[in-house]
């Protein structure tokens, strides 16, 4: 995997939720899972929803590991879903090599660093095949779909039938960043568990537990916590990727009401292009877009409709540019230059 370029910090790669040992917050959701286990009537499908990066998948994998390791025997009263990382089930699940668990996930296109647009029917078929065979341990089978939003229609269709008449002792854990957009028939089969963003203190705690804090410049860390919208996943990206540092530099200019000059944008374009990390470009653009969205919303709230519209349009154009760049496989530098032109135009027209 490409690593972000040369920071003085050497933060470890962000663990996949299947390997994640740390979960902060979401205590209520975990309590729901525990009490479902205690009641002996475990609902067959759970929908975990909420913004990206707050720990939905981490919680899902944690639940899956617990069930595979302990079955549905009632957990002790003061217990949680934590499983020792040295436990054989933990190891195999982390290696995606547990015979009674199948996960269908967003596939990252290595070229662009962005997720492929959809999870297709071939992936859904893996689930169906998995369910035609008995569980190897004779216990529960677990299916994780992360995120279920990405299933294309055919894949969602294939999955839906098994949600309607689920095989015995099978747990579906569906993760959704936008549950409102799901097929209502999928939503209605699931026990819906909405998860909320974490507090800054919880994000800070998460980063500390992941050994990020001591390896990160305090200022960078605080920036990340302040701008991650309660999602430690995003905070991690902000501190590990050069995109995060570059964007905070740009944000300093933008927040002060200024327009970045050519020297500044050129420096960013050069650094990002030199990083040769497609994830960094994607993250940088994501950050820029959410900044624009946020300003547009503020402007709208203050009755400044024109500005709001212009900023929103710039955001949409940038999004469009990026999609086109992906399909044409354009050079990072070119894309960024075009994006900055859009940005500059939008900002210069607005009253400072």
């Amino acid at each position: 995997m490409a690593r972000a370029a040369q920071e003085k910090t050497a933060v470890p790669d962000i663990p996949h939720p299947a390997e994640m040992t740390v979960l902060v917050g979401h205590l209520k959701a975990e309590a729901r899972m525990l009490s479902a286990l205690r009641s002996g009537r475990l609902h067959h499908a759970w929908l975990l929803s909420g913004p990206e990066g707050i720990g939905k998948a981490t919680l899902a994998w944690r639940f899956a590991r617990y069930l595979l390791a302990h079955g549905d025997a009632p957990p002790p009263e003061d217990g949680d879903l934590q499983l020792d990382p040295a436990h054989p089930v933990f190891r195999r699940v982390a290696a995606r090599a547990h015979p009674d668990l199948v996960s269908v996930e967003r596939i990252i296109d290595e070229k662009t660093g962005r997720p492929k647009r959809a999870i297709g029917v071939d992936e859904a078929r893996r689930i169906l095949h998995f369910l035609t065979l008995t569980p190897a341990e004779g216990g529960w089978r677990v299916v994780i779909v992360d995120p279920v939003d990405d299933l294309n229609l055919a894949a969602a269709n294939a999955l839906l039938k098994t949600l309607e008449e689920p095989p015995q002792r099978t747990l579906f854990l569906l993760i959704s960043h936008a549950p409102g957009r799901l097929l209502p028939t999928i939503r209605s089969r699931c026990l819906h568990l909405p998860l909320r963003p974490l507090t800054p203190a919880q994000v800070r705690e998460t980063l500390a537990l992941l050994d990020v804090t001591e390896r990160t410049d305090a200022e960078v860390l605080e920036e990340a916590i302040a701008h991650c919208q309660g999602a430690p996943g995003l905070a991690l990206k902000l501190v590990t990727s050069s995109a995060g540092r570059l964007f905070s530099r740009l944000r300093a200019t933008l927040d002060a009401g200024g327009v970045p000059d050519r020297a500044e944008t050129t420096a960013i374009v050069q650094e990002l292009a030199a990083a040769r990390d497609p994830h960094a470009l994607a993250l940088f653009v994501d950050l820029l877009r959410s900044w624009l969205q946020e300003r547009a919303r503020e402007a709208a709230l203050h009755g400044n409709a024109q500005t709001a519209q212009r900023l929103a349009r710039a955001e949409a154009e940038i999004a469009h540019l990026l999609t086109r760049a992906e399909s044409l496989n354009l050079d990072t530098g070119l894309v960024l230059t075009a994006i900055f032109q859009d940005l500059t135009r939008a900002l210069q027209a607005s009253p400072a």
């Binding site: 269709n157 039938k161 309607e164 008449e165």
Partner: protein, 268 residues
Amino acid sequence: MTAMNGTPRPEQLIFDLPIAEGMSAEDFLVTDSNRAAFEIIMRWPEDDVLAGSSPLLNLHGPEGSGKTHLAEIWRARTGALRAQPDDVCTDNLPALLSTGRLVIEDMPGAHLDETALFHLINMARENHARIMLTARTPPAAWPITLPDLATRLAAAQSVAIAPPDDALLRALLVKLFTDRQLRVPEEVISYLLVRMERSAAAAQRLVTLIDREALKHKAKITRPFVARLLKAHFAGSREADHAAEAAEEKHDPAFPSAEADEQSPSSS
């Protein structure tokens, strides 16, 4: 049997492999159309309010609406015996009531011995036995000639199963496919749901047809397959399924524009 050009096309016949239909209470699909019936079945006659004075319960509803399934649930719950209307004759009465619970299915039958049934009901009343009758129509619609029996039947508690609503039909299609251990994508269900006759019996017939045709052609059950099948089948000839087969062979996605056919298959 013979296609337009006069040449018969060979057709593979298939085994009539039995299917195991789920008949337990968990398998019963409860929606608004049958909730009243289901709830009574689960409580009668232990629940005093429901017990009433009559030893009879009438359960009536259209073909395939789940009467037999409900009767089976009640039998499993109460240990009732099961009989046909023809079984009711004077010699049999004590045997029929030997467990104190009895289901007589598909009333009134063609040759009902009305006197024997009248005695059976009286005997049940004396012995605190209970009898469930299932039928497509309420007792008032049966051709009963014995006035005393008619009175007894009219005094019985009666519960109707309404024609299935959409939720029930959908769930029923899913259950029927699952009983047959068939993997069917959701879009097939949706496709059938907007086109089929609104009855449980029609759902049974459709799923059976799809199952058999797919087995015959070793085909996957997809929406285009089902669309071709319905169009062909309900166009009323066997060429139809030859056509479906031919299309299957050629992988002709356009054949024969069945997607556009919004007509209900039952209308022909």
